[in-house]
C-alpha cells in the first residue's frame, strides 16, 4: 500500500507572501490596540435619567392622548419627506440614463472614464453637503431637498445603470444589426428591453434610500421631517422626538416592504 502525500486545498504560501501577511496582521492589531486604549469610555452624567428619557421617547407618545392627537402634523411632514425623495429619484432616473451610457465601457469604449469620473465625483460628496449648498442657492424649503437628493442619486444610479449596460448580452444587438436595423433601433430593440427592468428595480431601491436620506435633510433646512426633529432634540422635547421617530420608522418600513415586493416582480 503506497501512502499518498497530503494535499492542501490552498496553494502553499511563498516566504514573501507570508512576510506580507504577517506584516498586515501586525499593523492591523497595533491599530486596534492603540484605538482601544486611547478612546475614553467614561459616561458623563446628565440630569435626566436615561431610562426616563427612553420612556418619554417611546412610551409617552403612544399612551398620552395629548400627544396622540399631534400625529397627523408629523405624518404631514413625513409625506413631504417622501415627496422630496420621490421627486428627487424621478429626476435622477431620467438624468442618470445618458450619464450611464456615457460611463459604460461597451458603449463609449475608452472615453467611458469621463462618465465614470463624473459619477465618482458626485458620489464622493455626501447629500447633506449638497443640501447645504442648495439651501444657500435656492433658499430654505423642499426644493433644495429635491435638488440635493436628485444630484446624489444620479451618482449611484448612473454607476449601477452603467454596470447593467456593461453586462448586457450583445448578441441581440448583433441580430438587429445583421437584419439591417440602424444604431438607434439596435439600442431600442436590443439593449433597452434587457436593461429596463433592472433600471426600474435600481430606481425603486434608490427611492428607499432617498426616503431615509430625506428625513435628515430638514436638519439643514432642506424641507421634510428633519426640521421638527432637530428642533425637538434641541428643546429636549423627547415626546416629540419619539412621535417623529415612530412616524419615520413606520413609513420607512412600509416603503421598504412595498418596494421589495415590486422589485421581486420586476427582475
Amino acid at each position: 500500500m503506497n501512502e499518498k502525500p497530503i494535499v492542501s486545498l490552498r496553494q502553499a504560501r511563498t516566504n514573501k507572501s507570508k512576510f506580507y501577511l504577517y506584516t498586515i496582521v501586525f499593523i492591523l492589531s497595533a491599530i486596534y490596540i492603540i484605538g482601544l486604549f486611547t478612546t475614553p469610555f467614561s459616561v458623563s452624567g446628565s440630569a435626566a435619567s436615561p431610562l426616563d428619557t427612553l420612556r418619554r421617547i417611546f412610551i409617552v407618545p403612544l399612551t398620552d392622548m395629548e400627544y396622540i392627537v399631534q400625529f397627523p402634523v408629523y405624518i404631514g411632514y413625513m409625506i413631504e419627506t417622501v415627496a422630496i425623495a420621490y421627486a428627487g429619484v424621478t429626476v435622477a432616473t431620467i438624468l442618470a440614463v445618458p450619464v450611464a451610457f456615457l460611463a459604460a465601457r461597451n458603449v463609449t469604449k475608452r472615453y467611458s472614464y469621463v462618465g465614470k469620473a463624473l459619477l465618482n465625483a458626485i458620489r464622493a460628496v455626501p447629500e447633506l453637503i449638497f443640501a447645504i449648498i442648495f439651501v444657500a442657492a435656492v433658499g430654505i424649503g423642499p426644493y433644495a431637498g429635491v435638488l440635493a437628493i436628485s444630484i446624489n442619486s444620479i451618482g449611484m444610479l448612473g454607476k449601477l445603470y452603467a454596470e447593467v449596460i456593461e453586462s448586457i448580452d450583445q448578441s441581440n444587438v448583433d441580430a438587429i444589426k445583421a437584419s439591417g436595423g440602424n444604431r438607434i433601433q439596435a439600442m431600442w430593440y436590443g439593449v433597452l428591453p434587457q436593461v429596463l427592468p433592472e433600471f426600474s428595480s435600481y430606481s425603486i431601491y434608490r427611492f428607499e434610500i432617498d426616503v431615509r436620506a430625506s428625513t435628515v435633510l430638514g436638519i439643514v433646512g432642506a424641507g421634510g421631517i428633519g426640521a421638527p426633529l432637530i428642533l425637538a432634540t434641541y428643546q429636549r422635547s423627547w415626546e416629540d422626538v419619539g412621535m417623529i421617530l415612530i412616524v419615520v420608522v413606520v413609513f420607512v418600513s412600509l416603503i421598504d416592504l412595498i418596494s421589495g415586493k415590486i422589485r421581486k416582480r420586476l427582475v
Partner: protein, 257 residues
C-alpha cells in the same frame, strides 16, 4: 449570386481566418459549409453580411463589391441577407411576435419602430411566418419561455420576415439535441425551397451536411479544400476535409424518419 474573389481575412490578433477564397454561389442553392471548429466557417459566412470584414479580395453580391460598402449601403445589404445564429439571439424578455417583427426593422422608419407602430400587413406577415414554422400559437409568449428548438424556429421566422434573398445560418443546430436539430433543419430547408432563397449553412456534423445540402464546401485552416455537389460527396471526402479519419463524434444521428 455571391462571388468570392481572392478573399483573405486576417484578424487584428494575427490569426488568419480565411486564405485566398474563390467561390461562386448561385441563386437558390442550399450550400453547407463543413470543417472543424476554427477552420474559418464562421469567418466565411460572416463576411457575406460584413459582420466581419475581409482584409483582401472582393465579395460580389449581385455584382456589387460589398467590401467597399458604407454604413448606409451595408444596412440595405443586411436587409437582403438574413442571418440565423447558433444562440438564436432573440430578445428574451420580448414576446415572440415582437422578436419576429424585429426582422422588419430594416424596412421600418426609426421613429415608427421606436413607437412600435408596425404596419398591419407586417404584423400579419410576421404571424404568417410563425405559422410556416408551426409556432403560430406562441406569438404572444415571452421568447425565454420557449425551448431551444422553438427559439431557433422563431429566429427562422424572424429572418423570413425581413424578406431576404439570402439566408446565412451560423451553426444553427449546434445547441440542439439530435431530433430537434433535424426538425429545425427540415424547416429551414423547406422554407428556403419554397421562397427560392440562397441558403448558406455552417454545420460540423457530416451526416447532417449530407442529408440537407445541395452542395458542400469543405474548409480547413481557412482554405477551401473541397467544393462540389452532394452526389460527389462520400465519407472519403469528409476525411479529406477534416484531414483525419471520420469518428463517431462527427455524426449527429437521431433522425427518426
Amino acid at each position: 449570386m455571391i462571388e468570392f474573389k481572392n478573399v483573405s481575412l486576417k484578424y487584428p490578433n494575427g490569426h488568419q481566418g480565411l486564405k485566398n477564397i474563390n467561390l461562386k454561389i448561385n441563386d437558390g442553392e442550399f450550400v453547407v459549409i463543413v470543417g472543424m471548429s476554427g477552420a474559418g466557417k464562421s469567418s466565411l459566412i460572416r463576411s457575406i453580411n460584413r459582420m466581419v470584414t475581409p482584409t483582401e479580395g472582393k465579395i460580389l453580391v449581385d455584382d456589387q463589391d460589398i467590401i467597399t460598402f458604407n454604413e448606409k449601403k451595408l444596412r440595405k445589404l443586411r436587409t437582403e441577407v438574413g442571418m440565423i445564429f447558433q444562440s438564436y439571439n432573440l430578445v428574451k424578455r420580448m414576446s415572440v411576435l415582437r422578436n419576429v417583427l424585429a426582422g422588419r426593422l430594416g424596412h421600418t422608419g426609426t421613429i415608427r419602430s421606436m413607437l412600435g407602430l408596425f404596419p398591419q400587413k407586417d404584423i400579419q406577415f410576421a404571424l404568417d411566418n410563425l405559422d410556416r414554422v408551426s409556432i403560430h400559437e406562441k406569438a404572444y409568449t415571452r421568447a425565454d419561455q420557449l425551448s431551444g428548438g422553438q427559439q431557433q424556429r422563431v429566429s427562422i421566422a424572424r429572418v423570413l420576415t425581413q424578406q431576404p434573398k439570402v439566408i446565412l445560418a451560423d451553426e444553427p443546430v449546434a445547441s440542439l439535441d439530435p431530433p430537434t436539430s433535424h426538425k429545425v433543419m427540415k424547416d429551414l430547408k423547406r422554407v428556403s425551397r419554397e421562397d427560392n432563397l440562397t441558403t448558406i449553412v455552417n454545420l460540423h456534423f457530416i451526416d447532417m451536411a449530407q442529408e440537407y445540402a445541395d452542395r458542400i464546401i469543405g474548409l480547413r485552416d481557412g482554405e477551401v479544400v473541397f467544393d462540389g455537389p452532394i452526389d460527389q460527396v462520400t465519407e472519403k471526402t469528409f476525411e479529406e476535409i477534416y484531414g483525419r479519419p471520420i469518428k463517431e463524434d462527427d455524426l449527429l444521428g437521431g433522425d427518426d424518419d
